[in-house]
Amino acid sequence: MAAATLYDKLWDDHVVRYEGDTALLYIDRQLIHEVTSPQAFEGLRIHGRRPRRPEANLAVPDHNVPTTRRAAGITDPVARLQVETLVHNCAEFGITLFGMDDPRQGIVHVIGPETGFTLPGTTMVCGDSHTSTHGAFGALAFGIGTSEVEHVLATRCLVQRKSKAMLISVDGSLGPGITAKDVVLAIIGEIGTAGGTGYVLEFGGDAVRALSMEGRMTICNMAIEAGARAGLIAVDEKTIDYLRGRPYAPQGELFDQAAAHWRTLQSDPGAVFDREVHLDAASIKPQVTWGTSPEMVAPVDGRVPDPDRITDPAKAAGVRRALVYMGLSPGTAITDIRPDKVFIGSCTNSRIEDLRAAAEVVKGRKVAEGIKLAMVVPGSGPVKEQAEAEGLDRIFREAGFEWREPGCSMCLAMNADRLEPGERCASTSNRNFEGRQGYGGRTHLVSPAMAAAAAVAGRFVDVRDL
């Protein structure tokens, strides 16, 4: 048999039937949140359909939930109705829900792995583009629209065509202080926001293998920002150790049986990819985005580009427009950019390791004058609890950070956490699009350590120099 990629193996394991080049692909797991599901449940109701295997779905509200005083409820009546609609739909259709007051509540892509709902070798979807996160476990995980959410609820299948496979190998070792976020921003800077379109990306190489599961999730999370259908990382003992004992993971003998299968989930030696990209890990520096697309990124010792020096007219126009929006002049040093707000959170960077990295920088320091707001939003109830047990909340509070309740928060600003027009933010989230964090807001994407460093310095600085 020909050497297979990890993607080939996952794909072949889930084909129910083919019609030409189009497969009916079986979906093992679906995560559901309040924003992209109401119309899907309504569709089921209109057609008199019931979910197939309701137990294969897990729902949680995360986008609209307040991160302050949870007990006060949601004040915005439109948002409140959406969360209540999720509660009613889950009750009506027999789907497990971690409600707003459940200690397990959190960002959908944090609680999937945390509960062991995310498992290697599965196909997994959610009406959310950052579903690619779960590829860190060797699962084929991708975001879908609401019509497809309904399709999976009703049939447990999706009509799919196979993507191409790209290997992104980060060779060698990362320097001290360089994190998964810097790696993935460097990758997107290299291949571009549409560089992964039509592909499933497998991240490999020594530097990726050396990452923790949290770091791997950060990388796969942003595969979508390179336009990819999904991101994947091969299973190893770290994957298996992470899952052992999680409530929705198999237990006892069944876990061992599953783990034996999971250990086969790597690309075979000699497997052929449609494209391979190699990055030298040692050359990756802390990254800061300066524009309105994640590919508009520079190392912290770099400068904002000059559009007059870009030969491609479409690209130059894009840079020009981005600089106007961002309020930046060509040639500005990244370290001369001063944020107004700092946001540490999101499905990209709100796990315990992220909070530890930020706290280490913040410890014994104060948020700089001129920073109007610095906030930490843990990814889930259990992350928050763990951080508090380690005293991280005290470190943040003493430095002048706000310590909030779990949710998506200012990554997309659907709740009350947002930027005002013209405000500039050092953010550990995943998108720096125009208006993403609030109308007229200006986002710079960075790692948790770099966001913490910006908070205490009042401008972007190389965290390695602190």
Binding site: Y26, S129, G145, V159, T197, Q257, A258, R431
Partner: protein, 212 residues
């Protein structure tokens, strides 16, 4: 879904690359639990000079005169012409809902983001990928003093710009079939319920831990 029928429509040229779904429909409108009514807020942050809110009457809001959708030449446009990587970012199906609600039936681009591309077909919108040189030519034609009209013929897979050469395009046969007949895709899949049940039975043998 309504069957996709041949039509002739006005082309609205949106000369930007990497238009993301946050720009197509900003987040505050995602709080709706409906599928309809998003058209007036399509491209809200570019189209108006103030900030839109759900439930607000949009008729009296100040329009941004330099945004292409507000150009009288393109009133009633049903074909959107744009550049590379259209629809990137968030998976929100509210983006095609807003485009369809406004009246767009076809989007011509150098390329589309994957999830958005799929979401279009689910909502009777035909996204067409064209060669950058063809896109350039259409931009030139659509940006003239008069609006460009294009005739769209899905069965024969052709675009006929008024006074120009016919442009053939590709579309996946399954997608074309569903669009032409206005099929309920879930209904199509449910015809294979036996195959799905058979798969589940096999899968349960191989991976019993997924069925506990």
């Amino acid at each position: 879904m309504q069957p996709f029928t041949n039509f002739t429509g006005i082309v609205c040229p949106l000369d930007r690359s990497n238009v993301d779904t946050d720009a197509i429909i900003p987040k505050q409108f995602l709080k709706s639990i409906q599928r309809s009514g998003f058209g007036p807020n399509l491209f809200d942050e570019w189209r108006y000079l103030d900030t839109g809110e759900p439930g607000r009457d949009n008729s009296g809001r100040p329009l941004n005169p330099s945004f292409v959708l507000n150009d009288p030449r393109y009133a009633g446009a049903s074909i959107l012409l744009t550049r590379a990587n259209f629809g990137c970012g968030s998976s929100r199906e509210h983006a095609p809902w807003a485009l369809a609600d406004y009246g767009f039936k076809v989007i011509l681009a150098e390329g589309f983001a994957d999830i958005f591309f799929n979401n279009c077909f689910e909502n009777g919108i035909l996204p067409i990928v064209l060669d950058p040189a063809v896109i350039d030519r259409l931009f030139a034609q659509a940006s003239g003093p008069g609006a460009l009209q294009v005739q769209v013929e899905l069965a024969g897979q052709t675009l006929a710009p008024a006074g120009g050469d016919v442009i053939p395009f590709d579309v996946h046969p399954y997608r074309k079939h569903c669009l032409l007949l206005g099929l309920d895709e879930i209904g199509q899949t449910l015809q294979h319920a036996d195959a799905i049940a058979g798969y589940e039975e096999r899968r349960q043998q191989q991976a019993p831990w997924l069925f506990t």
